[in-house]
């Protein structure tokens, strides 16, 4: 029996595969060791150590020289032992790029930071980018070419491709198909065009499981072209978000979040913006809205029609709820400062209507820009996949190339892609990890990770970035460009050369210099798409979206906030990341509204039978406050059948229910299951107001300090750190959108282990930084509040006085320091922490992790069994700054903690409070500043800025 959960132990099975270990050994000796050593051996050693220690030898490390020192034969350029290097690239999700900078330690990638110069990042990252480190080092990654499931090598592949090339060539590509996701890469686009030009009869299919077709089709309906609309939230004062993904997943969402937050804190912005959101199920934008309305698909339709009527014809519609009129009034009153946004799940006609409304509101050019399409041939995704499948069934397809796409798992089950695939005599899947498709395809070829090869991609606004290679390939993967090229020529040039040939023509000035700058800055200047002058089609405003069928139950298929469409399912950080609103990990129960749960007598974790036509599946449910009663939400991306040891069978696969038009039905099944949720308090917490202080803009206008902490009471004893610096943090609750980027950033920066589902159920998760979510009001339509919670570094810290060995003490600069190697594990400090931010290694979690040492942050101790740990304010970064500034005899400079750097909305500000000009010192002067649980007299160095909401007086007196 091992106390550690299955997910993590089962890596051993793979570690027992000698071929794998040897493969890895070439590039990563110590990874090989890590994998070769069964977890128990390490345990035994530890036990022996313990035995000796108890013999009295331990405690003092006897300083026996251990191990070896291995200098390089020749030091690579720019590498200084012990100092990190940073190389820019971009993280691409659904084809759209956001600039990142990868931190290297002795040539090994260890951390992802945002690229401050990149318009889609401005220094922030999303959870996916942060988690790339784990994906890159994933031991489950596809390691070798297989044909018919048997090991093959490049030679065999080459010969197979040779026959393919000749065959395809002589019938001009008839029966040759390429399937990819959305593509913004100029080079790949060029290659595909060349391919199609060479083989006229061949066809290229684009398809994303989570598609944005409606957005583009809507644009076509409105403007006759698939123009991209790029909102500018910094300029928007009244925003109406209809089932919108603006802050969560829309291309450029990091940038949108930053701009949005810049108008939300009344103590810093002249005019606070007002956000209305209407949506069937809670999303990030809904949770931070000033007014959130709940509406199922049918109501959404009515509402939009009514809104259009009110704004375009100026004739309010009686069918819709009366708030629509008031919102319309507010929008109309803010001509040129208003913005309406609608999410990709709504039909194209509605998008067209929204375009018309925005034009009428004078949004274009003010709060949004229309630019040339960014994606390559965006329109008409989806349809081609169905064509492809029907052609495959009709045996019109002879050879199929699938690039980084997983249709066997994610294609609408109704299409029957998997069956059709069997009829093809040459199918080749290029995938990062072995997945359902590579399993079904005849040829499975490992794809080079984005950090192992060269490529390029464009951001939401068209800005192009060069994705430069970050490390030598761990496994002999083939990159996308080479793979495509291999279908036209036997020995294509290296990916880097292809890229340069693309960009030679597009970069002006000295190419060598331009290329270098592009790599250094992480973007190619002046590549943003140009604004279009397309004009709204006359009939756009008169679009009548087809009314959705009147159904008692609608299933909304949404991407999982952490796993997206399933491509990140093997990433343990993302699996264990508490989802923003449900706080669930490792699982994706069906989300049902409280009303429906009451009606079906369902409690969290009860299983239900959900059927759409012939497709039936049972899954547990989770009650989602603020969801439309006639909707259930199925999160896609879990329940992967073939993905690797982490994501294997974690959660439930709802794809089989997709793409069907039958009436869905839901009934209670017998049993119930235990779900790994990280919060355990009652749903509606009435005292939340004391913890997450909040109020309305009206009251703020009357008295800005109405939420600030009360005056300091007299004290007998007050200790103050007297160091040269005073490290402190201020967290702006007006900015936090609960996106979790900080949590993963912290996990990655501080070597925080993953514990697995069982241990999360056992309430032993380890994240140092958590985002608390509170609901207030009526469970059916609550207001929700986010509050990042980390070590408060109290000046009078309760944890310190109770530790018998002084393992947690205060340093002169105000840090509450946790000295791991002094900790004996009484856990009294955790009991005595009012904020409960301390985490305990009940088992050797980190050692069980089977993660190559190279992937960890060498500046942070990897904690062993039986030791307490907690947020250190990124002590390693403080120490680095201390040392460099002292070395250069200059005052401390600016630097960021991991959470602060990752945060898209700049909710965190960290720095030296003693310096009155520092950002944090200024923020602490804000009238909204308050200390959490001030009555505990802990004097926390972390304080919060209370959340102000800006409700429409017409709609409710004070939404505070």
């Amino acid at each position: 029996m091992s106390p550690v959960s299955r997910q993590w132990r089962s890596l051993d099975q793979l570690a027992d595969d000698p071929s794998f270990v040897s493969r890895v050994a070439q590039e990563f000796p110590s990874l090989a060791d890590a994998l070769a050593a069964p977890s128990d051996r390490r345990r035994v050693l530890k036990l022996m150590a313990a035995a000796f220690a108890m013999g009295g030898l331990g405690g003092c490390d006897v300083g026996a020289p251990g191990g070896h020192l291995i200098p390089a034969v020749r030091v690579p350029p720019n590498i200084i032992p012990g100092l990190p290097n940073f190389y820019s690239t971009a993280n691409v999700v659904n084809g759209y790029a956001a600039g990142i900078v990868v931190k290297h330690q002795m040539g090994r990638p260890i951390k992802v930071e945002g690229n401050p110069q990149h318009p889609a990042s401005l220094g922030a990252t999303d959870v996916f980018a942060q988690a790339q480190v784990l994906d890159f080092y994933d031991p489950d990654r596809a390691a070798a070419i297989t044909a018919h499931g048997l090991p093959a090598d490049r030679q065999l592949l080459q010969t197979a491709l040779l026959t393919q090339r000749t065959k395809i060539a002589e019938n001009h590509g008839t029966g040759f198909r390429v399937l990819t996701g959305t593509i913004t890469s100029p080079t790949l686009a060029k290659q595909l065009d060349a391919l199609l030009a060479l083989y006229p009869a061949a066809r290229w299919h684009q398809w994303e499981p989570v598609s944005r077709d409606n957005v583009w089709k809507g644009a076509v309906l409105a403007y006759g072209a698939p123009v991209e609309s790029v909102p500018n939230l910094a300029a928007a004062e009244v925003i109406f978000a209809i089932d919108s993904d603006l802050l969560s997943s829309a291309p450029g969402h990091l940038r949108f979040a930053r701009d949005f937050a810049s108008r939300r804190n009344p103590s810093r912005t002249q005019k606070m913006s007002r956000l209305y959101a209407v949506e069937p199920t809670p999303t990030l934008i809904g949770s931070v809205a000033d007014h959130r309305f709940i509406a199922g698909p049918k109501e959404l339709h009515q509402i939009l029609v009514a809104l259009a009527a009110a704004i375009l014809q100026g004739a309010p519609d009686s069918a819709a709820p009366d708030w629509v009129g008031k919102v319309a009034k507010d929008l109309n009153a803010n001509q040129g400062r208003a913005l309406v946004h609608i999410g990709p799940d709504r039909p194209a006609e509605m998008h067209a209507l929204v375009h018309a409304i925005n034009e009428k509101l004078g949004a274009r050019g003010a709060t949004l820009d229309l630019v040339e399409p960014v994606a390559h041939r965006p329109v008409g995704q989806g349809a081609p996949l169905s064509d492809l499948v029907s052609d495959m069934q009709a045996e019109k397809v002879t050879s199929l190339l699938v690039i980084d796409s997983n249709p066997v798992y994610a294609a609408p089950a109704a299409l029957g892609f998997a069956e059709a695939l069997k009829k093809i005599d040459f199918s080749l899947a290029l995938t990062l990890t072995p997945n359902e498709t590579s399993e079904a395809a005849i040829w499975a070829v490992p794809m080079a990770h984005a950090w192992e090869s060269w490529s390029d991609a464009r951001a939401y606004d068209g800005t192009a970035s060069i994705l430069q290679q970050q490390a030598l390939p761990l496994y002999d993967g083939i990159d996308v460009h080479t793979m495509v090229a291999l279908f036209t020529e036997p020995a294509p040039p290296a990916a880097q050369d292809m890229l340069q040939s693309t960009w030679k023509s597009r970069m002006n000035g000295d190419f060598a210099q331009a290329w270098h700058d592009a790599l250094a800055n992480g973007l190619v200047p002046n590549t943003a798409s140009t604004k279009t002058n397309v004009s709204l089609r006359a009939d756009a405003g008169s679009q009548r979206p087809p009314a959705p069928p009147d159904r008692p139950l609608t299933i909304l298929f949404r991407p999982d906030p952490s796993l997206w469409d399933g491509r990140y399912a093997n990433n343990a950080w993302l699996q264990e990341l508490p989802r923003p609103l449900t706080k669930l990990t490792w699982d994706n129960p069906l989300l049902v509204a409280p009303a429906r749960a009451r009606q079906l007598k369902l409690r969290n974790g009860d299983r239900v039978r959900l059927s759409v036509g012939k497709a039936v599946m049972t899954a547990p449910i989770w009650i989602m406050p603020g969801q439309a009663p006639d909707c259930v939400v199925a999160l896609l991306g879990s329940g992967r059948r073939h993905v690797g040891t982490v994501g294997q069978n974690a959660g439930y696969d709802f794809y089989p229910l997709t793409g069907r038009n039958d009436l869905p039905s839901l009934e209670k099944a017998a049993d119930s299951v235990e779900l790994a949720c990280t919060d355990h308090h009652n749903l509606i917490f009435d005292m939340a107001g004391d913890i997450v202080r909040h109020g309305s803009l009206l009251r703020y206008a009357k008295d800005p300090r109405f939420l600030a902490g009360g005056q300091q009471e007299p004290q007998l004893y007050r200790w103050k750190p007297e160091g040269p610096a005073a490290w402190a943090m201020s967290v702006d609750l007006n900015a936090c959108i609960g996106c979790n980027a900080c949590v993963v950033a912290c996990q990655s920066e501080n070597n925080i282990p993953v514990v697995g589902k069982q241990q999360v159920i056992h309430e032993r998760e380890m994240q140092w930084l958590r985002i608390d979510r509170y609901y207030e009001g009526n469970p059916d339509a609550p207001t929700s509040y986010f509050q990042p919670m980390l070590c408060m570094h109290c000046e009078q810290a309760p944890c310190e006085v109770v530790c018998p060995v002084g393992a947690t003490v205060h340093d002169s600069e105000g840090l509450n320091v946790m000295v791991y190697n002094r900790c004996v594990g009484t856990r009294f400090c955790s009991n005595n922490c009012p904020y409960k931010v301390r985490r305990f290694n009940y088992f050797a979690f980190a050692q069980e992790e089977q993660r190559p040492p190279e992937s960890r942050n060498p500046d942070v101790t990897v904690r062993g069994r039986g030791v307490m740990e907690k947020c250190t304010f990124c002590l390693q970064r403080i120490a680095e700054e201390r040392i460099t500034s002292d070395r250069e005899n200059r005052p401390l400079g600016e630097f960021k903690t991991a959470c602060q750097a990752a945060c898209p909305t700049q909710a965190f500000s960290f720095g030296n409070m003693a310096d009155p000009n520092s950002e944090v010192a200024r923020r602490k002067q804000s009238p909204l500043d308050y200390a959490l649980l001030a009555d505990q007299n802990t004097h926390p160095r972390v304080t919060y800025e209370a959340r102000i909401r800006n409700p429409n007086p017409d709609l409710d007196g004070d939404g505070g």
């Binding site: 300083g63 251990g66 034969v73 030091v75 340093d811 791991y820 190697n821 500046d859 002292d886």
Partner: protein
């Protein structure tokens, strides 16, 4: 009835009590002393190396500066060990086919690094930074001893936490003039500036050097 114990039993009893007491004293003494003994700390233990590199010859004999091989000592926490190339800068000219240097040539030939055995090691939870100590006037020999007197390199100081704290509590006496930092023979003498001067010169004293967070993360 016969007596159960002969009178000698009293003596036995007393002796055994004394023995127990002695054992106790010795045990405690050992517990206290053992970790402080140089031998238990491997101080002055020669470590066998793949190449019997002599600091004495290279430093004292040839007068090569520490930084020639330990190049990153001034900028990084890691002083750095010479890559094979550094060795070969000279040894491609002199002692080109010395038996002793075969491993070095081998390393260059098949591009396999030389694996040196550690001489001084600190626990992984201690984050010692060479650059700051060098910058603040702590010489190599303060921790590494008279390296230029070492035909084979050995650990010169106990390097216990106590050893570090002695200096961190009162750095002054340990500091030396900038130009003496790499002089492993340097001793405090009458013409050395007084500690206070050096402290001021190096701007030491701003931080509480005994904070746990200075060395542990």
């Amino acid at each position: 009835m016969t007596a159960i114990f002969r009178p000698s039993a009293n003596l036995a009893a007393t002796l055994s009590l004394a023995f127990v007491a002695a054992l106790l004293v010795f045990g405690v003494g050992w517990w206290w002393a053992w970790p402080r003994v140089d031998w238990s700390r491997h101080v002055r233990w020669y470590v066998v190396q793949p190449v019997p590199f002599s600091h004495e010859h290279h430093v004292a004999g040839l007068g090569i500066d520490c930084r020639f091989c330990h190049a990153s000592v001034e900028v990084s926490w890691n002083a750095g060990l010479p890559p094979t190339y550094t060795c070969m800068t000279c040894h491609s000219q002199i002692w080109t086919n010395a038996e002793l240097l075969a491993p070095v040539r081998q390393s260059l030939a098949d591009n396999k690094p030389i694996v040196w055995n550690r001489v001084t090691d600190l626990p992984d939870y201690v984050y010692f930074n060479h650059s700051i100590h060098i910058a603040k006037g702590v010489g190599c020999s303060s921790c590494h001893g008279e390296v230029d007197r070492m035909p084979l390199t050995y650990k010169a100081k106990t390097l216990t936490m106590g050893f570090c704290l002695d200096c961190h509590r009162d750095p002054g006496p340990q500091l030396r003039p900038k130009d003496q930092i790499y002089n492993t023979q340097w001793q405090r003498s009458t013409d050395t500036p007084p500690p206070a001067t050096l402290l001021a010169q190096y701007h030491v004293g701003g931080r509480a050097l005994t904070d746990c967070s200075i060395c542990h993360r």
